[in-house]
Symmetry: C2
Subunit: 306 residues, 2 copies
């Protein structure tokens, strides 16, 4: 039997393959495949469930990041997943793997950073688990909720939608922004209160890769105008397309509401919202329109975990 190493599948291939082993029972609206799982809640609501596993040397480096930043980021990643569904984060569980000899004061700072993040979004850290591990490891699970009418999946983009992003992209790791970012849950709520959002996800693996996920899930194509991409200061278009860890929102809305949405956001959202392209039929694929008008296929080149 040929043994396949995980590197040959990539993270998303692996997830798809493992998900095939799983059966999903009643009460599950969405299982594996979106930013959060969605399950039945009280009559008007769904519950949102997500977790993010961060490991020293992979998602942060204990010798470079401050412990407060590690705690902040660990919770912020999961809150960003809740934001991407249009939801409100509520409760968090923290699984902490600690190397032998770790100073308690260091861990207290990790928790202080996590609590600061929790304060910004009304999350209660209610429990977890603490064990020995070879490297500092944090898994933060967040439970949130969303009104049934406000749930935004990544699979609901429609032809003709305008494609938009919050904030600016690229250079998140080199600038250190990946440790200090504020998840866009308040922006997602404010946008969803005013405009019909069709599809949404957070940008963790780079615009190119993440847009592929959105278009594949929605069975559509997209055209991105390179000149329109809001590139972060000191970053390049390539960085915006491929580096990841931006934790901005990528979303689509009907072309008819796009002008009002952009005008409102310009006045109301400090992070800014930029229209970067349009949703097109699936058979047209995903294209990057260069400034000279040339269209090139936007290849899958997001951050690969394996």
């Amino acid at each position: 039997m040929t043994r396949m190493k995980i590197e040959s599948l990539g993270e998303f291939g692996l997830i798809q393959r493992l998900a095939k082993r799983l059966k999903v029972g009643p009460g599950v609206i969405r299982g594996v495949g979106d930013d959060c799982a969605v399950v039945e809640g009280p009559p008007m609501w769904y519950h949102l469930l997500t977790c993010d596993l961060l490991v020293d040397g992979v998602h942060f480096r204990v010798d470079r990041a401050k412990p407060e930043q590690i705690g902040w980021k660990a919770l912020a990643c999961s809150v960003s997943d809740i934001a991407a569904m249009g939801g409100l984060p509520q409760f968090a569980l923290v699984a902490l793997g600690v190397p032998r000899g770790c100073a308690v004061e260091r861990l207290e700072k990790v928790y202080a950073g996590m609590q600061r993040m929790a304060d910004t979004c009304g999350v209660s850290v209610v429990g977890g688990d603490t064990v020995l591990a070879p490297r500092l490891t944090l898994d933060v699970a967040v439970i949130g909720r969303v009104e049934r009418t406000r749930l935004v999946l990544r699979s609901s983009a429609r032809e003709g939608d305008h494609l938009m992003v919050t904030g600016s992209l690229g250079g998140a790791v080199t600038s250190g922004r990946h440790l200090t970012f504020t998840p866009r849950w308040a922006e997602a709520r404010a946008l969803g209160d005013r405009f019909p959002l069709h599809a949404m996800m957070d940008l963790s693996d780079g615009l190119a890769g993440d847009l592929r996920h959105l278009t594949a899930a929605s069975r559509v194509g997209a055209v991105v105008q390179e000149a329109a991409i809001p590139v972060a200061r000191h970053a390049t278009v390539k960085a915006a397309l491929t580096e990841g860890e931006d934790f901005e929102l990528l979303f689509t809305a009907p072309a008819s509401v796009s002008p009002a949405l952009l005008e409102w956001a310009a006045g109301a959202l400090r992070c800014g919202v930029t229209k970067i392209g349009e949703i097109v039929p699936a058979k047209q694929g995903v294209t990057l329109r260069r400034p000279d008008g040339q269209g090139i296929p936007l290849v899958l080149s997001g951050y690969r975990h394996f």
Copy 2:
């Protein structure tokens, strides 16, 4: 400044110290300190939230355990926490840290074992996260529910209660039972349907240490009859008291219902239920009554994670 290493605090000291950094908001019935966190649910219900982090070399060894067993155990530990509150497990999130070069087939077997566990208790694995890690790492978060009238905390034991355990204790690691155990959620539900359970927890760190947690949380003492402890085959009393990983239930019920409970359990629960002692006033401490009648303080000697 003196830097305190985690080893000098132990797991529970560390958890207490870190928990002080956390603020708990509305909707939280119980935060850190019980088998699960308890949060508001629909009118008749509470939600139960728990997670267990398992790391290769600490909680299992990839060179000794079958991958199916690792998946089974990872989910079973969290289901056992839900059982300990009298609840029903519903949904699970799986965070998976995978070493470079790991064979996909191995991970598929881990997931197959987890799904088999999920099948036994009606859990849907709805999502998670998959990242690189130095060693195979699994954090399984489980969301469950319990009727408000059926919630059983570890802090509700009362003087005069009888102290009971399910199954038999000791030798779980050496016998391999820690990889194959069935969490006692069905037994906990059946007992709670018929009898008023005052306090309950699952035995993960050994009877001696876990009983200390139950009595401390309840502000009571206890007397355990050594001769009554149901010691597993090939195990010793010392193993039952100190080794941990049994995942049986430790619970208390009023003395008045104890005879009926034990008689019913003898006929209805294959795992068996044994009365091992009584709850006494806090000032009497926690005592082990030797077969010769001598009482010795039952010292904290459960499994220490650090």
